[in-house]
C-alpha cells in the first residue's frame, strides 16, 4: 500500500468512527437544543441500543441492519419514559440536579444491563462479514460502506423531519425560543418527550452500528463515547446539528490520524486538544452563536 493508500485508509476509518460520534452527538444536541438539559447518561442509550440489537439478532437471526429500526423504536419508548419520569420534574431546577440525576441514571442503566445481559463483553457477526468492495485504491469491507450510507440516510431523514413536518418545525421553534413557542400554542412538554425520544433513538442507531461493525460491547461501553459526544457538541456549537455533524467527522478523523502519526495512546487526548484550541479561538464552538 502506497502513502496515498494509507492516508485514504486512515481517512476512511476516521469517517467510520465519525459516523458513530455524529449519531450520538446529534441526538445529544437535539435534546440539549430543545430542553437545555445536560444528560451524561446519553452513552448508556448507545449501550442499550447495542444490547437490543444483539439480543434480537441472537433470538431471531434477522439481519442486524434491519434491527436498527427495532432498536431505535425501543429507545424512543425508553427515552420518553426517562424524560417523563426523570428529567421533566427537575427541568429548570438547576444544572446540578440534571448532572446528579444523569450520573444516577448511568449506574442504573449499567448495572441494570449487567443484571439482564451479564457484564462479559460480547460481539456479533454481520451477515456481510468478509465481503470487501473496491473503492479507488482501497478495498473496504462492505459493512463500513453500509454504516456510512445508513448514517447519511438517518441524518437526511432527520433533516427532512425537522424542516418539513409540523412537529419538526415546533421542535425548532421550541429550541429557538421556548417561551415564545409556548405563547404561540406549542405544547412544549410534548416536544420535550419527542426530542428526548428522538435523541435516544439516534444513540440507539449508533449502538446498532457499533455492534454490526464487529466492535465488542459490554454494559460499560457508553461512558467514553458520551464524553466524546459532549466534546463534539461543545466543539461544533451547543444546539447546532450541522456543528455536531462536522464536529463528529472532525473528531473521528483527528483521532485516527493521531493514532497513526503519534500512537494509539493519543487517540483520546487529541479530541480534547482540538476542543481546547477551538474554544480558545472561538468560544462558541465552530457553529455556535453567542448566547447559546
Amino acid at each position: 500500500m502506497d502513502n496515498l493508500g494509507i492516508f485514504l485508509q486512515i481517512l476512511f476509518w476516521g469517517l467510520y468512527a465519525g459516523c458513530i460520534y455524529i449519531l450520538l452527538a446529534t441526538g445529544l444536541n437535539l435534546i440539549f437544543g430543545v430542553m437545555k438539559i445536560v444528560n451524561f447518561a446519553h452513552g448508556e442509550f448507545l449501550m442499550i441500543g447495542a444490547y437490543i440489537t444483539a439480543t434480537v439478532f441472537f433470538l431471531t437471526g434477522i439481519n442486524p441492519y434491519l434491527i436498527i429500526l427495532v432498536s431505535m423504536l425501543a429507545l424512543i419508548g425508553i427515552g420518553a419514559v426517562v424524560e417523563r419520569l426523570c428529567f421533566r420534574p427537575i427541568l429548570g431546577t438547576g444544572k446540578l440536579n440534571e448532572i446528579f440525576l444523569s450520573i444516577g441514571l448511568i449506574y442504573i442503566f449499567q448495572n441494570g444491563a449487567a443484571m439482564i445481559w451479564g457484564d462479559s463483553w460480547q460481539s456479533v457477526r454481520s451477515p456481510y462479514d468478509g465481503i470487501t468492495v473496491p473503492l479507488g485504491p482501497l478495498s473496504v469491507p462492505l459493512d463500513y460502506i453500509i454504516i456510512v450510507a445508513l448514517t447519511a440516510m438517518i441524518l437526511i431523514a432527520l433533516y427532512l423531519f425537522l424542516k418539513k413536518t409540523k412537529t419538526g418545525m415546533e421542535m425548532r421553534a421550541t429550541s429557538q425560543n421556548r417561551k415564545g413557542a409556548m405563547l404561540v400554542g406549542i405544547d412544549v412538554e410534548r416536544i420535550d418527550v419527542i426530542s428526548f425520544g428522538l435523541g435516544c433513538a439516534l444513540a440507539a442507531a449508533a449502538g446498532t452500528l457499533w455492534v454490526v461493525s464487529g466492535q465488542v460491547f459490554n454494559p460499560y461501553i457508553g461512558s467514553m463515547p458520551a464524553v466524546k459526544a459532549f466534546t463534539i457538541i461543545i466543539l461544533g456549537g451547543l444546539g447546532s446539528i450541522p456543528g455536531a455533524i462536522i464536529g463528529g467527522l472532525l473528531m473521528g478523523i483527528a483521532e485516527n490520524g493521531a493514532a497513526f502519526l503519534l500512537g494509539g495512546i493519543w487517540k483520546d487526548a487529541v479530541s480534547f486538544i482540538i476542543l481546547i484550541v477551538v474554544l480558545v479561538i472561538r468560544p462558541t464552538g465552530l457553529f455556535g452563536e453567542k448566547g447559546d
Binding site: 426523570c86 421533566r88 448495572n111 495512546i265
Partner: protein, 443 residues
C-alpha cells in the same frame, strides 16, 4: 409535584442499591467476625468492568479450590485444630480506584488473613502500597508485570507472584518465533537463514503491554536474534477499535504480529486485522488470552493463531497435571456451567498455596504466614511448574512455570477454533504449520 420528587428519590436509592448488587452477590460469603476455625482468604478480582470475564473466572476458581480444601477437612493449624477456608471477594471494578477500595475493605473491614488474586498490573500496582502498609501476605495470580515484586519504591516483601511475568513469556514467545516460525517462513519463501524475520508489536499502553514490548526487544538484543521489529504500535487499555494501528502495521509488511493485549482486546484486534485490513499473518497472543470467550469471539479468524499458555480450557499437556486439570475443569463446569481460564487456574493454585502456607505456619499470624511462603516448597497443584514444585524465588518471590505454545485450528462444526500444543517438543501434540492463506512480509 411531591410524588415526582419522591419518585426521583426512590430512583436514586434504587441506583445505589443496584450499583451495589454485583458486589453484594459476590460478597455473600463474607463475615465480619473472625470466628474460630475459619481462615479468611480475600480474593481480589475484576467482577465488573472490562476485565470482568477474566475476574469472574478467578473468583469462581477460588470457590472451587475452597470447596475442595474444605471437603478434605480444611487446614490443620499448630494446635491440631482444623480450620475451614472462608472466601471474601473484593471487586476491583477493573480500575485502579476500585482496586484500592477493594484491598482496603478486605484488609480493614473484613480482616482477611491472606489475599489472593489481582488482575491487570496497572490495577494491582495501584494498591500495593496498602498491602505494604498493613503487611498482609498477598499471592498475586493474575497481574503479570515484573514490577509487581520488582519495584523498589515500596516494601513488596509480603507480595508473592504466582504468575509468569511478561519478562518470562515475552522471552519465551520470542524464542518460539525464532526457533519455529522464522524457519517455517524462510522455508515457504525458499529464503536463507540470513533473511531477517519481520515482527510487529501491538501492545496495551500499560505496565503489562510495555512489559511484553520490553521483553521482546531485550530478548532480540541479548540473544542477537535475526528478528527485526518493523512496527511497534500501542493502544489504551479497553480499546475496541484497532483499525488505524493495524493499517500502519500492514504498511510495514510484517511476517507476524505479537499482541500484548487482554482477551477483550486481542479478539477484536485479530478479527479486524483479518477481516477489515486483510492482514493475513500469524498472530501471537500472551497466555491471558487462553479464555473460552476469546475462542468464541475469534470464530474463524483465529485460524492459525498462536497462544503462549500454561493452562487452557480446551487442551492440556500429557503429564502429571493432566488428571488434576481435567478434574478442576469438571468441578468448575459442574458448579458454573462454563470452563475456567488460565487466570482462574492460577487463582485455584493460589488458594491452595494460601492454605498450605497457613498450614505450614500453623497459625494465621501474618508475619509467620509470610515466612512460610518464603520457605514454601509444595507439590504443583494443577499448573505445570518447574521441577513439579511450587516455591518462590529468593530475590523477587516469583514461582516458575512450564510454558507451552498452542496453535489454533478452526472447527467448522462448533464455529470456533481449538488449540493444539505445538512447542516445546516434549509437550507438543502436533507440529506448527503456516496456514494456506498466510502471506509473508517483504522489505
Amino acid at each position: 409535584m411531591k410524588y415526582q420528587v419522591l419518585f426521583i428519590a426512590v430512583l436514586l436509592i434504587m441506583a445505589a442499591l443496584i450499583a451495589g448488587c454485583t458486589q453484594q452477590a459476590a460478597t455473600q460469603q463474607q463475615t465480619t467476625s473472625a470466628s474460630q476455625g475459619v481462615i479468611k482468604v480475600g480474593v481480589i478480582a475484576s467482577l465488573t468492568g472490562p476485565a470482568s470475564n477474566v475476574g469472574t473466572s478467578m473468583w469462581q476458581s477460588a470457590q472451587v479450590a475452597a470447596d475442595k480444601i474444605n471437603a478434605g477437612g480444611g487446614v490443620t493449624l499448630k494446635d491440631g485444630s482444623k480450620a475451614q477456608i472462608k472466601l471474601i471477594v473484593g471487586d476491583d471494578e477493573s480500575t485502579q480506584a476500585g482496586g484500592q477500595d477493594a484491598a482496603t475493605k478486605l484488609i480493614t473491614d473484613d480482616n482477611v488473613d491472606i489475599l489472593v488474586g489481582g488482575y491487570s498490573s496497572a490495577v494491582t500496582s495501584a494498591y500495593e502500597q496498602t498491602i505494604a502498609e498493613y503487611k498482609v501476605p498477598y499471592i498475586v495470580t493474575g497481574a503479570s508485570s515484573p514490577i509487581i515484586t520488582h519495584r523498589t519504591d515500596i516494601d513488596t516483601s509480603y507480595i508473592f507472584h504466582h504468575c509468569p511475568t511478561t519478562d518470562t513469556y515475552g522471552q519465551y514467545t520470542t524464542q518460539f518465533i525464532d526457533q519455529v516460525i522464522r524457519p517455517a517462513v524462510n522455508g515457504k519463501l525458499n529464503a536463507s537463514d540470513a533473511r531477517p524475520f519481520r515482527l510487529a508489536l501491538l501492545y496495551q499502553d500499560t505496565a503489562f503491554g510495555k512489559g511484553i514490548q520490553t521483553a521482546v526487544n531485550n530478548t532480540i538484543t541479548k540473544n542477537n536474534l535475526n528478528i527485526v521489529l518493523v512496527s511497534q504500535q500501542s493502544f489504551k487499555m479497553g480499546e475496541s477499535d484497532f483499525r488505524t494501528q493495524l493499517t500502519a502495521i500492514k504498511a510495514a509488511n510484517p511476517d507476524a504480529l505479537y499482541l500484548g493485549a487482554f482477551p477483550n482486546e486481542g479478539a477484536p484486534a485479530i478479527t479486524q486485522a483479518r477481516r477489515d485490513i486483510g492482514l493475513n499473518t500469524i498472530f501471537l497472543s500472551p497466555e491471558n488470552n487462553d479464555n473460552a470467550q476469546f475462542y468464541k469471539d475469534l470464530g474463524q479468524y483465529g485460524e492459525g493463531s498462536i497462544i503462549e499458555s500454561r493452562f487452557s480450557p480446551y487442551t492440556a499437556p500429557t503429564g502429571p497435571v493432566t488428571v488434576d486439570q481435567a478434574a478442576f475443569k469438571q468441578a468448575y463446569f459442574a458448579k458454573f456451567g462454563t470452563y475456567p481460564d488460565m487466570m482462574g487456574a492460577s487463582t485455584y493454585d493460589g488458594v491452595f498455596i494460601a492454605a498450605q502456607a497457613i498450614g505450614n505456619a500453623g497459625t494465621t499470624d501474618k508475619a509467620a504466614v509470610k515466612q512460610a511462603l518464603v520457605n514454601l516448597n509444595m507439590p504443583q497443584v494443577i499448573e505445570a511448574m518447574k521441577n513439579q514444585t511450587i516455591s518462590f524465588s529468593p530475590d523477587f518471590r516469583e514461582s516458575s512455570f512450564d510454558l507451552w505454545m498452542e496453535q489454533l485450528s478452526y472447527n467448522v462444526t462448533i464455529g470456533e477454533t481449538r488449540p493444539s500444543i505445538v512447542w516445546p517438543d516434549n509437550l507438543k501434540t502436533t507440529d506448527f504449520a503456516l496456514p494456506s492463506w498466510y502471506t509473508a512480509g517483504s522489505a
